[in-house]
Symmetry: C2
Subunit: 146 residues, 2 copies
DNA sequence: TGTGTTTATATCGTTCACGATGCAAATTTA
DNA sequence: TAAATTTGCATCGTGAACGATATAAACACA
């Protein structure tokens, strides 16, 4: 068996698995309010700055518009956001939070901490997390390539 | 703006993004042989040990059988694996590599290194990667909870 | 002004993920 | 051994991801 093909040597498999498992950890907390994890990410973006065009949201999340557009339509159908043509640029669709979308923020106040608590362990502590962030940011920066 | 909701403070978002970007880095290398990234993971598992039941493959990848079953069927349709009823336990489906499936290994020999090279940077080096592995393994171990 | 190009978003098709559920073989237990 | 339970795999439905492509508005420039 070639050592380089060992599953346990693959950084990618660890990232892929950790990402999936953390998303699963969010699931019960979010589904209570009819949200998925990517929809929660959109909310994070809009809570930071309301009324953004689709493209800005997609860029912030490093996703393509063909992923974000259907996602936003589902959120519109749920009454969480509105989508309206841009005033100065008619190509843009401006996404705004509804009252319901803004209101979700206080209902989800405990979510970040709850998930964070579920992750902390021997080698992942408030002291080591910045280092982990740094490495992941390096990888992301290298791969997004722009 | 509540600090705990800042996108940049979310570990999950970094893992999710890093995972997606690395998968994208694999894409051109794998699609040349008609493979997807999850299918490549299945190959890694079978190259380590051929002739495993669906359940063992799913457990190794921490996926559910309802994800792995259709994936294996597509790989069977591509002539990469065979699926046959288990001898001693008729509920099991034993997955075996075909000659083509085994042959893919030498064609993909350079893949792990190519992807690894694309990731190495300031804070991600042969010296720091073991620490990164350890933290991710801790997170995975904590979340898979068994 | 007209024509070509870029930009913003959307549509389509395929492949994951995964919760919920179904089914048949194996196992346990009464 | 019959009945209940567990196990292994599959089906179904929904929601991402994303490559390829389409469409219309904005822009550049001849």
């Amino acid at each position: 068996m070639d050592e380089r093909f060992r599953l346990d040597n693959q950084l990618c498999f660890r990232l892929y698995t950790a990402s999936r498992l953390i998303t699963q950890a969010y699931h019960p907390l979010l589904s209570e309010y009819g949200l998925t994890y990517p929809q929660y990410l959109v909310l994070l973006v809009l809570w930071e700055k309301d009324g953004q065009p689709v493209n800005d949201i997609a860029k912030r999340l490093l996703l393509e518009t063909n992923t974000v557009t259907p996602l936003l339509k589902r959120m519109e159908a749920e009454g969480i956001v509105t989508r309206s043509k841009g005033r100065e640029d008619a190509r843009q669709i401006i996404v705004k939070l509804t009252r319901k979308g803004r209101g979700l923020q206080e209902k989800l106040l405990n979510v970040p901490e709850t998930v964070a608590r579920g992750i902390l362990c021997d080698r992942v502590t408030p002291e080591t997390i910045p280092g982990l962030y740094g490495m992941l940011d390096d990888i992301i920066g290298k791969l997004k390539g722009d």
